[in-house]
């Protein structure tokens, strides 16, 4: 059975630790600052909005989560958690809770300041929540592969590029058909979903996009769990 007490204890610990970690916590400002600039510039295409939203996802969910996990590895605190009675789900769940809260806050605030006003806020919120799971799982995975915070911040750079600038992928497909495969990436699916919602589509019209993002979440979750269990032993 999952212990909420343990998950909450890890969340509270992470909150205190994070608030004193300026190196990582200042990252929160970047997407919000860009959102304000976007809003003032009057940019209103879906691709542009979602380049920023995907950047917010990857900067907060993936970058911060990978740094938090990598620091736990670097300082040998993850091993101590692993040796405690807390289960894999409690440790990774607890460690993801703070990132989830921060991600949702930053993404929503960034979208608001950039002037993005979705036609159906309910569907967009579901898509945001699913996407945040994907980016957090990705961050956890990158953190587990990194030996230090420094290494994690380098490893995450190509991921930031793919998932933020990748938002313009659909515009390049005519020129480079091979890039079609990238259309299944969760960031592109999020844009496709948002475009359908803007065109008046309801939940039934975006089920495929939500399903593809969900598949990414499940696959990454399973891979992360396997890698985490491998990291439990030297």
């Amino acid at each position: 059975m999952i212990s909420m007490k343990r998950m909450n204890a890890i969340l509270m610990k992470d909150f205190k630790d994070f608030s004193r970690n300026l190196y990582v916590s200042t990252v929160l400002i970047l997407p919000i600052g860009l959102g304000i600039m976007y809003g003032r510039a009057g940019i209103d295409s879906i691709e542009s909005h979602f380049m920023l939203i995907n950047l917010a996802f990857v900067m907060v969910a993936t970058f911060i989560q990978s740094c938090l996990i990598a620091e736990e590895k670097e300082k040998n605190t993850l091993r101590s958690l692993m040796l405690s009675p807390a289960s894999t789900v409690e440790i990774l769940g607890g460690k993801s809770l703070l990132t989830f809260i921060l991600t949702m806050f930053v993404v929503v605030v960034t979208a608001y300041f950039s002037g993005y006003n979705p036609a159906n806020i309910g569907i967009i919120m579901i898509a945001f929540i699913l996407s945040s799971f994907f980016y957090i799982a990705l961050g956890t995975l990158l953190g587990l592969f990194s030996k230090s915070v420094m290494e994690a911040s380098v490893i995450v750079l190509p991921v930031v590029t793919v998932f933020s600038l990748g938002s313009f992928l659909p515009t390049l497909i005519e020129q480079y058909p091979i890039l079609k495969i990238g259309m299944y990436l969760p960031n592109i699916q999020l844009i496709e979903l948002a475009a359908k919602v803007e065109a008046g589509g309801g939940f039934g019209n975006v089920i495929l996009e939500l399903f593809i993002i969900l598949v990414w979440v499940i696959v990454l979750f399973l891979v992360t769990r396997i890698i985490y269990r491998k990291k439990m032993v030297d």
Binding site: S3, K5, R6, N8, A9, I10, M12, K13, K16, D17, R20, N21, K75, N76, T77, R79, S80, L81, L83, S84, P85, A86, S87, M232, V233, D234
Partner: protein, 282 residues
């Protein structure tokens, strides 16, 4: 008495290099078992295997009567505590906040924090951030964390290596009190005095193998040369053999009021280790 740890023909290879070769021992419930050996002798490897952090190449290791692979289960994790060289703390948090986290993970009331801080002599410093602590204080916080849930079994890898004699003494008292309450302690150390002071039984580990295993008293008796040294009032030291001849000479010295002190010539554990392995403990 019930065995809490049972190890049979345990071996561990790192590539072609052997860290442990066919190690056999058991630890009884309630005892303090010392694992002594120089750096690289396989002490930490043994602790890591016994706590499920490392997989043995061959042999069997059981803790609480279960194979160590079962230690991943939460119900077993709450029964042991570990202090190793790879135990870390949250440096931006205070000592108290670090311990609070582990109280919640082990489902222990926060009121236990003061008690455990008393054992490691850090009650006055509990609001200090870990990043501001000395190496010795950090070591004591890690020890406090290992003790917070009053484990049945405690694995301690060089627990006092970074401590000054005063704090080492304080920790020894705390560990003895814990042992009296029933905690079994598996201790690795370089410090022969510490081993002699705390351990009920001692295993000498060298080159991945146990060279000797017994109580400190029996080991000393086994390696004793059965002589006594008499220090005379003239400050001259005379070594007397065991038996009638030695007894007669001692009687003569005593009869003529020449004796200042009498000592039995037991080897130290360090000397026994060198004798058995041909190597110094570093």
């Amino acid at each position: 008495m019930e065995n809490i740890i049972e190890v049979k023909q345990l071996a561990k290879l790192f590539g072609n290099q052997s860290a442990l070769e066919s190690v056999d021992f058991h630890v009884k419930k309630g005892e303090v078992f010392g694992f002594l050996g120089p750096s690289g002798s396989g002490k930490t490897t043994t602790i890591k295997i016994l706590t499920g952090q490392l997989i043995a190449t061959s042999g069997t290791a059981k803790v609480f009567g279960e194979p160590v692979s079962q230690l991943k289960k939460s119900k077993y994790r709450s029964r042991f505590g570990v202090l190793t060289d790879n135990s870390g703390l949250y440096e931006r948090l205070s000592i108290r906040d670090n311990l609070k986290l582990y109280c919640d993970l082990y489902n222990v009331p926060h009121s236990e924090i003061n008690e455990v801080l008393d054992v490691v002599n850090l009650k006055e410093d509990q609001t200090k951030r870990v990043s501001a602590l000395s190496k010795g204080m950090t070591q004591r916080v890690i020890l406090a964390r290992a003790l917070i849930h009053k484990p049945e079994l405690l694995f301690l890898d060089e627990p006092t290596s970074a401590l000054d004699p005063g704090n080492s003494l304080h920790i020894h008292e705390g560990l003895r009190a814990l042992n009296k309450k029933g905690t079994t302690i598996f201790l690795t150390t370089h410090d022969m005095q510490e081993a002699e002071l705390l351990c009920d039984r001692i295993a000498f580990l060298d080159r991945g193998m146990i060279q000797l295993l017994d109580t400190p008293k029996k080991l000393k008796r086994r390696f004793s040369d059965s002589t006594i040294t008499v220090e005379l009032v003239t400050e001259e030291k005379v070594k007397l053999p065991a038996g009638k001849e030695g007894a007669n000479r001692l009687f003569d010295y005593m009869n003529s009021n020449q004796v200042m002190t009498v000592h039995s010539n037991e080897p130290t554990l360090g000397e026994i280790f060198v004798k058995v392995t041909g190597r110094e403990l570093d």
